[in-house]
Amino acid sequence: MELSVTQENLSRALSTVGRVASGKTQLPILSNILLQTDGSQLLVAATNLEIASTLHVGAKIISPGSITVPARLVSEFVSSLPKATVTLKVENDHLLVSSGKFTSRINGVSAEEFPELPTINEDEAIRYTLNPGDFKQALNQTIITASNDATRPILTGIYWHSYEGALYLAGTDGYRLSERRLVETDSEVAAIVPASTLQEVLRSMHDDISEVEVLFDESQVRFRAEGIEITSRLIDGNFPDYRQLIPATSEVSAKIDRSEFMRIVKVSGLFARESGGSVTVTVDEDAGSLALHSIASELGENTSEASADIRSSGQVTLNSRYLAEALNVIEGSMVEFRFSGKISPCVMSELGENPNYIHIIMPLKS
């Protein structure tokens, strides 16, 4: 193999793909990156046998071939090179990387040892084309509620499914739950995508992409945007029927300015550190206010208040971190916060008819 490629393109590809290559595995080749000529392009790929990330880079191919080299070393070396043309050449399981006055000879392993890259039958796969802005927002909104409890693998994923003509994303860790409606769709899908995959997808998508394609087959999902492809296994199993847990109506409701709500959550969170984030929300209809109260027995206590449009009065105790994280990802300048009593789920959403994002938090026992 011999080819030349610009330093910028190669470096970007190596750093994007290289994150997937993992050093913590019993199969040493998984910490390598695969470099392979593919027609007139250079294919850069890595996998950890759960996710595979591939990227095509425009290159001037002199002779075809392939090799795998340690991901860390090659991406750090290439990123330190000056912006110029880089020449890659394979000689007996060594990769010669040269650019201007720099040359390296990196010991590699034959590409034949590298695991097969996953394939998806594109004609039969269920396909969605998404707006990158909505896509990223939906991921950010749902990933935060995914569990990292490995004893319940299903909850470590985000549930992509069609329901009443729309594609929904949902995630829960058993303490909170989020649901986002993404696009209208006719096709039927129900798949649990590992949250770790989605995090990787988020990190790999840079800002100037124009659309994201998502393809599902029975056991895999592929995300594609501007030459980057991330393919992942799906989590096997049935996602719990979470819709019945969303209360349709609540006794108490507060419509409140989002940034003001965030500010008082942040303030009262300071005093809730030693109680595990516990803050008490008091909604008072007569005063027209929503107040947060938190106590740090050694340090003092805090009451923060914001005016809100209130229906009925009540009190509930929540984890302030959950509140803050929810407020962070809800869209719009006004949010609705509703609950019924101290032990029923609290619902947060953007203000308005039929919001596309719902976030549910279970109260703490006070």
Binding site: A150, Y175, L245, M362
Partner: protein
């Protein structure tokens, strides 16, 4: 049959494929089904399937043919996951010092009829149940305590600490509790792990800054930890376990621990853990007595569909005394041998097999060995034990030696006295009676006796 073929296919593949690749791609594969025109091989995930299909297919095909399985088509599928259904947690968030809400209102709201299948992934082996545990005088206390715990987890005997030698059924009992709770309260989360796993998880959580360590261990309803003695000497791990223990105990979650020694005798166990282990109920499981060993042999044989005659049962029970696992092993050996030869298993076959595999033990222990081992256990010289000295630190080991000569070698009292250089056999009678009586009350003495016994027979 087909699994055996697959094992030999794997065995040959292992020789030609580098170990890391073999472990990653092929180790946990299996034949899922086999018909005349298709063999289905299960692999762990879709990524691995691709590689196995493209890279190892030819080799697998050839080896299958070589091992006598021919089919025009071999397909590879993802193995179905086991029991990975789950439901929304019915607990609310639990920060430190807080108990989750478990009022029925939330239960009703959060659990929904259609999400009813509530099998949580657990690591329990379903084979271990109360019904196939054989109860005798040496383990009936442990058995009833475990049943009480299974009926009311977290209420009675928390923590439950089981200790005893290898192969006496600690793991069986603990898993039986887990399985029973899983059956009666399908929603509860039960975590069965070995101490080694706990240590490894803890190290990983530090080394790779992995999250989820405390969630994994503190969000369970029943925590079962096997072989606690391995935590000794690992101070940070002990500290972490201490916190886990407290978090669970405070929330009335059941903790079950097993070890080969009582908490007191685990070396370098920090004081606060020791006192906690002794807090609930610590029960030892003793070596099974003769009648119980007979019952075990009979029950296990009938599980395999074989009726043994009494002499055979008695032979096995007499000759293998120290360990139920060994007893089962000998029985399996006997049954396998009889099946292969197409004969009925009887005492003479058993004698041939066991005689060849392991010499029946007591005949190989001499009175001198008993005295030597006892002396060495108490850091004495055997001449001291046999001397006329009456110092307390010598008298006690001497009495133990007498007791062991009686209980293990069934020597007569005059002979015992003679072995230890006494003239009067009444000393021997007195000593044996004294130790016998004391061993019923004194757990430390019992420990000592069983340790000396272990040394005798190894």
């Amino acid at each position: 049959m087909q699994q055996n073929v697959w094992q030999s296919v794997l065995g040959e593949l292992e020789l030609t494929i580098p170990k890391p690749s073999f472990d990653t791609f092929l180790k946990d594969t299996e034949i899922l089904s086999q018909t005349h025109d298709e063999i289905t091989i299960g692999v762990r995930n879709v990524f691995i399937r691709n590689t196995v299909e493209k890279r190892y297919h030819e080799q697998i095909k050839q080896l299958l043919v070589k091992n006598g399985l021919t089919a025009p088509k071999i397909t590879y599928v993802q193995k179905p996951s086991q029991g990975k259904k789950t439901v929304i947690n019915r607990e609310t968030t639990t920060p430190l010092n807080r108990t989750p809400i478990s009022s029925s209102a939330v239960d009703d709201l959060l659990s929904s009829p259609s999400s009813a299948p509530t099998v949580h992934t657990n690591t329990l082996n379903p084979r271990y149940t109360f019904s196939n545990f054989i109860v005798g005088s040496s383990n009936d206390l442990a058995y009833s305590a475990c049943q009480a715990v299974a009926a009311n987890p977290g209420v009675k005997y928390n923590p439950l600490f089981l200790y005893g030698g290898v192969g006496l059924g600690k793991t069986h009992l603990m898993q039986a509790v887990g399985n029973e709770i899983a059956k009666t309260q399908p929603d509860s989360r039960i975590l069965y792990i070995s101490t080694e796993t706990f240590v490894q998880d803890f190290l990983d959580s530090i080394r790779f800054k992995k999250k989820g360590f405390s969630t994994k261990y503190r969000n369970v309803d029943v925590l079962i930890i096997d072989d606690m003695q391995f935590i000794s000497g690992k101070e940070k791990t002990q500290e972490e376990f201490f916190h886990t223990f407290n978090a669970l105990h405070q929330n009335n979650k059941q903790i079950i621990i097993s070890s080969d020694k009582p908490p007191k005798s685990i070396p370098t166990l920090t004081e606060r853990l020791r006192s906690r282990f002794e807090w609930g109920m610590a029960i030892d499981i003793q070596l099974p007595d003769y009648e119980m060993r007979c019952a075990i042999v009979e029950a296990k044989a009938s599980l395999s569909g074989v009726q043994l005659d009494n002499p055979t049962i008695e032979y096995l029970a007499t000759n293998i005394k120290t360990n139920v696992r060994e007893l089962e092993g000998a029985l399996n050996q006997l049954l396998a041998y009889a099946e292969m030869r197409g004969v009925a298993p009887d005492a003479s076959i058993a004698e041939g097999l066991i005689g060849s595999a392991r010499q029946s033990r007591p005949q190989h222990v001499t009175p001198k060995q008993v005295i030597d081992k006892t002396a060495r256990y108490f850091s004495l010289d055997s001449t001291e034990i046999c001397s006329a000295k009456r110092d307390k630190h010598i008298v006690f080991p001497r009495q133990i030696a007498m007791y062991l000569l009686r209980s293990e070698l069934h020597l007569s009292f005059p002979k015992i006295a003679q072995e230890l250089g006494r003239k009067d056999h009444t000393t021997a009678i007195h000593s044996v009676e004294k130790i016998e009586k004391a061993s019923k009350l004194d757990t430390i003495l019992r420990e000592q006796l069983s340790e000396i016994r272990e040394r005798l027979y190894t």
